[in-house]
């Protein structure tokens, strides 16, 4: 009792299960030395969960365990476990003890039995191997053999007491369909344990989807809600919400999309570690665009992973090489890893696990998933959405620059946007569409969004040729985008127009040149006239001055000679004489010059 009081004040001791995701959901694992009930329908993963926890305990902490199988035989369980890389047979016998508690149909039942003997045997075995864990797998099978609710209750009590007396972490699994169970005292079973985990397996579009939910955890905090479960090569994995805080490194490094023009449109390329979504209806060259990105990455010497969900590696390489994208050499050099997955057969969760393993294995810096929307094919949109989100976040956590494509069935972008809902988490969204005009389909490329950078709002035409894909300008005429032949016609038209304009211009220029020359000539003539007139004027005013000077000089001389004239009179007389001479200016010019000369 004292122990219980302590448990309330101290954090509950827990032991990690080692199941990816689950230890995060449960905030540390299962309660140590207490009992956990795993409930769920057949094939919902209870046994795998229990066995995986046991294997991890042995492998990671050298904690031996006992597995009591009420439902399946040890051989069946081993066969199931062999699909995972646990190496179950190699686990030392004294580390993992299997008790095949499967009552064979040949066993005759006569009257009541109990578990007293079995628990005594398990206690002895536990002490022998020092087991820290015990699993009662399929306890419902045993309990239903009791045919009696009172007996069932009694045996549940017996197990509870045994677990309380033996310091051991226990896992009990029980088949439960829906809310009910064949076990009458099922609710008591739930009550007596410290932790209850619900497993669910349901079919969506013919694909099994697994879910897990912690419904009770006495004395502990846990993450509530249903989480997807997937089965990979290493066993079960829970799609726990990755840390709620998104902590991706924001790189300012740009990597090429493979198209110089697209890089320019994106303001320098894609950010390292960013995610790019390429959407479009089938045939809009999404794969080509993605392939070009992969090729560019390989050419930079970066490890690249190309995941395809609708074609095999060989046809992709062949198809891409027809438009001048060569992936083959990079596959050969080991730089590029091509992976083709089938989407009908396995659930989205399983793809996630597979891709995780591939990323761990290949360590790519760049990655293509083509088309990501294919994962929605297998088993429900909701699951696929969650997987798509987690996939992108996972890839970003690894700082891989990823390009994903998504098919949209209509040409309506709004439909696409709500389909996988990845457009909101993608950093860049490129949309490819067809423009059908004049009997032609042409591919148009638009950048819908590009986070953290300037991007062009212009539409480009994606032109494919065996020399390689390229982006061409498009013409917009009256609000319409022109491509293909129309673009070509328009280009021709523009060219002709330009030529015509140039000719007109040349002509005009020449005209103007002539006019200019003419004017210039006229200006020269006029300037000559002006010069002449200036010279004449200068000459004339010079003569006049000479005259004035000479005449006044003469008067002074006369006055000096006569030596008596008052000043006023001489001035008047001079002025009169000047006026008189001015009137006969032209004709008397030379004469005056002569006079001036004589006088001086």
């Amino acid at each position: 009792m004292g122990g219980k009081k302590n448990a309330a004040s101290e954090p509950l001791p827990k032991t990690a299960t080692g199941i990816p995701g689950f230890d995060e959901l449960s905030r540390g694992g299962l309660p140590r030395n207490r009992t956990t009930l795993l409930k769920g329908g057949p094939g919902s993963g209870k046994t795998v969960f229990a066995l995986q926890t046991l294997v991890n305990a042995i492998r990671r902490r050298r904690e031996p365990g006992i597995f009591v199988a009420f439902e399946e035989s040890a051989r069946e369980i081993s066969a199931n476990a062999a699909t995972f890389d646990w190496g179950l047979p190699s686990l030392a016998r004294n580390k993992l003890f299997f008790l095949e508690a499967h009552l064979s149909p040949e066993v005759v039942q006569s009257g009541e039995f109990d578990l007293t003997g079995m628990l005594a045997m398990l206690k002895a075995k536990k002490e022998e191997i020092g087991a820290k864990w015990i699993v009662f797998d399929g306890i419902d099978v045993l309990l239903t053999l009791l045919h009696n609710p009172i007996s069932e209750m009694r045996e549940i009590y017996r197990i509870r007491d045994w677990l309380a007396d033996n310091e051991v972490s226990a896992i009990i699994t029980a088949k439960v369909d829906g809310d009910g169970s064949k076990i009458t005292n099922y609710s008591f079973l739930q009550f007596m344990v410290a932790c209850v985990i619900s497993f669910e397996r349901r079919l969506e579009y013919g694909v099994a989807l697994h879910r897990i939910e912690i419904t009770k955890y006495r004395g502990s905090d846990f993450v509530a809600g249903e989480y997807p479960v997937s089965f990979g090569p290493s066993g079960m994995e829970v799609g726990a919400p990755e840390s709620t805080e998104i902590m991706h490194e924001a790189s300012t490094e740009r990597v090429s999309s493979g198209f110089e023009r697209l890089d320019t449109m994106l303001g320098g390329g894609l950010f390292r570690g960013s995610s790019t979504l390429i959407t479009g209806v089938p045939g809009t060259s999404k794969t080509t665009l993605a392939g070009k990105f992969a090729e560019a990455a390989c050419q930079r010497g970066e490890r690249t992973l190309f995941v395809s969900f609708d074609e095999g590696a060989a046809p992709i390489q062949r198809n891409l090489s027809s438009v001048g994208i060569q992936l083959n050499p990079h596959v050969k050099s080991g730089l590029l890893r091509m992976y083709s997955g089938r989407t009908e057969s396995i659930g989205a969760e399983d793809h996630l696990v597979k891709l995780k393993a591939l990323i761990r294995e290949h360590r790519p810096r760049c990655m293509v998933i083509d088309p990501l929307s294919a994962i929605a094919k297998a088993g429900g949109l909701v699951a696929a959405r969650a997987v798509a989100n987690r996939l992108i976040y996972m890839v970003k956590d690894e700082e891989v620059t990823v390009v994903v494509t998504a098919v949209n069935t209509g040409d309506d972008r709004q439909i696409e946007a709500t389909d996988l809902q990845i457009s909101t988490i993608a950093d860049t969204w490129i949309h490819l569409s067809y423009l059908i005009r004049s009997g032609e389909r042409n591919r148009a490329l638009t950048i819908i969004k590009s986070r953290g950078g300037w991007h062009s709002n212009q539409v480009r035409e994606l032109v494919l040729s065996n020399a390689g894909p390229m982006l061409a300008d498009v013409y917009t005429a009256g609000g319409e985008v022109l491509m293909g032949t129309l673009r070509w016609e328009k280009e021709g038209e523009e060219k002709a127009k330009t030529t015509r304009r140039r000719a007109e211009f040349d002509h005009k220029r020449r005209e103007l040149q002539v006019a200019e020359a003419d004017t210039r000539a006229r200006i020269t003539g006029l300037q000559k006239d002006l010069e002449r007139q200036r010279v004449e004027l200068a000459m004339y005013s010079n003569e006049n001055e000479v005259r004035i000077v000479s005449s006044s000089e003469r008067e002074k001389e006369l006055r000096r000679i006569r030596s008596a004239d008052p000043e006023g009179r001489s001035t008047n007389g001079g002025g009169g004489r000047f006026a008189k001479r001015r009137a006969s200016n032209g004709s008397r010019k030379l004469e005056s010059e002569k006079e001036a000369q004589d006088e001086s």
Binding site: L103, V108, E112, F113, D114, G117, M118, A120, K123
Partner: protein, 108 residues
């Protein structure tokens, strides 16, 4: 020894056959006590002295019981005559016990 008995049982059923049995019990657990009593009554009534019974207390020899493939208590294993059969429970259903032990004929 068991082989010898098997041969004999084949050639000469019922009358001279000695039924060899092991009863696994859990000390004085109610079902175990009841099983011992029920089995003794059946043997007295139907087998007289033509039986050999070994009672094993699982609480005392748990690892041996484990090795013998015992799961629950009480559990009765008929070793011979062949075929070997296992009966679980407190043996309160007499007819099913007799049938399993192959001595149904003498009842009728």
């Amino acid at each position: 020894m068991s082989l010898e008995r098997t041969k004999r049982s084949v050639s000469d059923p019922a009358a001279t056959t000695v039924v060899v049995m092991r009863l696994y019990i859990a000390n004085n657990a109610p079902n175990s006590i009841r099983a011992v009593a029920n089995l003794e009554a059946i043997c007295r009534e139907h087998l007289q002295d033509k039986f050999k019974l070994e009672i094993i207390d699982v609480l005392e020899y748990p690892l041996r019981a484990l090795a013998d493939g015992i799961l629950v208590t009480p559990s009765l294993a008929k070793m011979s005559p062949s075929p070997a059969t296992n009966i679980v429970g407190n043996l309160s259903d007499k007819s099913s016990v007799l049938q399993a032990l192959g001595i149904e004929a003498s009842v009728a």
